[in-house]
Symmetry: C2
Subunit: 342 residues, 2 copies
């Protein structure tokens, strides 16, 4: 007997960042974060199959069998949790495909974790809502929990030790303020970055400014939620930039320092400030995760000037326009191929 | 009648940084800072002449008459103060020469301000000690006050509103721990930096982390003084790097952000961490002011490995080795030329 389901999920870009855990195992953050879920111009499609015919578990990413280590290992732990919930004993076959344009520098961990837990729960016919999915995805890869909804999403840090109050909630769906989009500028990267998981722990351990950062980020999350509800772009834009700078400040204050921004990132930052100054108001905002690629949050009517500005900067390899997505969904198109059966 | 004197002063490199004022006019800092005074491989020689023959005041820098603006204007204000102290009415002629290797990226404001106040006081036969000189130089250019002594120096922030308790004191002279030196790596700089004065004000005004930075720097100053007295290089080195990162963190947290480090600076930072790791202890420490040039604090016995490491990094334009200096001194060699008389 076989049970199978396929889910599609998309990444999200944080406007208020998650950087630092209060619980490493359950992946509970030190502060709330706020994000935009991206549309399916970047997405992960994952099929999960439970079958008596399988001799062992297997995990395929983009057609190749993946070693169970790193994020994949954490994702498998969550899958074991899901199996336990359904009292499921069969082996599992997972196939995941990313349709991220080559070299986007985007992490597939958020969309991948969300697609996995959604497909697994669906295959096992578990009754689970978006909040439940967000809690499962959170344990696979922290910020993945925010991909549980479309539009603008807030991840509540919660205060319970067991993580039962740390999940995503939707601030507003993708129709509320759909003019707001994300233009991704992919930047050449010389240095290999420190993995986020490791970097976060190092910041928490060594940064003397981190205690204050947590409080600031929490205030930023409240302020961002209000700006989104009130559709105040100027206020949101200022907040997004301040917040990105603040996270990169504590990264710089880490020992050894985590210096993710490079000279191209700096050029983008300065160019956005110039663009806003010459426009007389903040029409665009930059935000950077743990890497040099810029996400420019702007409104549809300003795409042309932002793109033109980006095209004038040396060292940008690719520019991708992403609109707001509507959250994860189930699909009929399995990505498992016959030769994957083990 | 003419009164003339010439003084020589050298820059200092801060190990614990000054970034932010509690009083802009008197140049009173928010926290103590600690520095090494450099030797005369980089220096300013300044002659000050008071004469009835002058028809106006004039200020020459490296042979060319300088406009009285920016740092020069502040220095002239301090000179007026000195004239008042001596009840002096004659015009003044100032000639200042910097023997900084071309393109060092080093600011002459510290050595210049110190040489100026020392020469002026000496020409007017004012009885003034190093503490008094440091208070005058402080008002010309903040960190200049630390060039009042040789060796290791601490600038006390003080608490009085009139600045009467904000001056430099010597932690230890240049003989105490003369193995400790500064290797300056001059880095190609694409972007023009924001002026320190303006940048400091912006950080204080906009950085949400700055309140904590002030306290951290104050603790760093105490810890650095102890490490210097106890000649604990490992402890001092860790502190120097942590402190530099901490200042650049609040610079990053400024709005718009002050991103002084560039890709070459980053390469130097990573290379120093690697060197220390492979050495089994911190044998070198990087520190950066408001620019991309690195100062590598190390001990004489490690100059070879540090220099070799720096030579392997692309984008370094010049490497200058500076030992500890013995502080400012008077000289007989005037740098005023006949054609400067106005």
């Amino acid at each position: 007997m076989e049970d199978i389901a396929t889910a599609i999920a998309t990444p999200n870009i944080a406007l208020v960042k998650y950087w630092g855990k209060r619980n490493d195992r359950l992946i509970l953050p030190e502060n709330d974060s706020v994000s935009i879920t991206l549309d399916e111009s970047v997405k992960t499609t994952t099929t999960v199959l439970f079958s008596d015919r399988l001799s062992r578990d297997a995990f395929y990413i983009d057609g190749s069998e993946s070693k169970i280590e790193g994020v994949t290992a954490t994702a498998m732990d969550v899958l074991m949790q899901i199996k336990k919930m359904a009292n499921e004993k069969r082996h599992v076959l997972i196939a995941s495909e990313n349709t991220f344009p080559s070299g986007t520098g985007l992490a597939s961990s958020a969309s991948g974790s969300m697609a996995l837990v959604y497909a697994a729960c669906s295959a096992l016919k578990l009754e689970i809502d978006a909040k439940g999915l967000s809690m499962l995805a959170r344990q696979a890869s922290g910020s993945a929990c925010r991909s549980a909804y479309g539009g603008f999403v807030r991840w509540l840090k919660g205060s319970n030790d067991d993580g039962s109050d740390s999940y995503a909630k939707q601030i507003a769906d993708e129709k509320h303020w759909n003019e707001v989009i994300d233009i991704i500028a992919i930047v050449d990267q010389k240095k290999k970055k420190v993995a986020s998981r490791e970097g976060q722990a190092l910041t928490k351990e060594t940064s003397k400014l981190y205690a204050l950062r947590k409080e600031i980020a929490q205030e930023h999350a409240d302020a961002a939620e209000n700006a989104i509800i009130e559709k105040d772009f100027e206020r949101l834009a200022m907040l997004i930039m301040t917040e990105s700078n603040n996270m990169h400040a504590v990264m710089t204050d880490t020992f050894p320092p985590l210096l993710y921004l490079n000279d191209v990132s700096k050029s983008i930052i300065y160019a956005i400030h110039e663009l806003n100054e010459s426009s007389g108001s903040a029409i665009a905002a930059y935000t950077f995760d743990a890497g040099p690629n810029a996400h420019i949050i702007t409104k549809k009517q300003n795409v042309h000037e932002v793109t033109e500005m980006l095209e004038g900067i040396e060292g940008i390899r690719n520019i991708i326009e992403c609109r707001q997505g509507s959250g994860p969904r189930l699909s009929d198109a399995s990505v498992i191929k016959d030769e994957m059966y083990v």
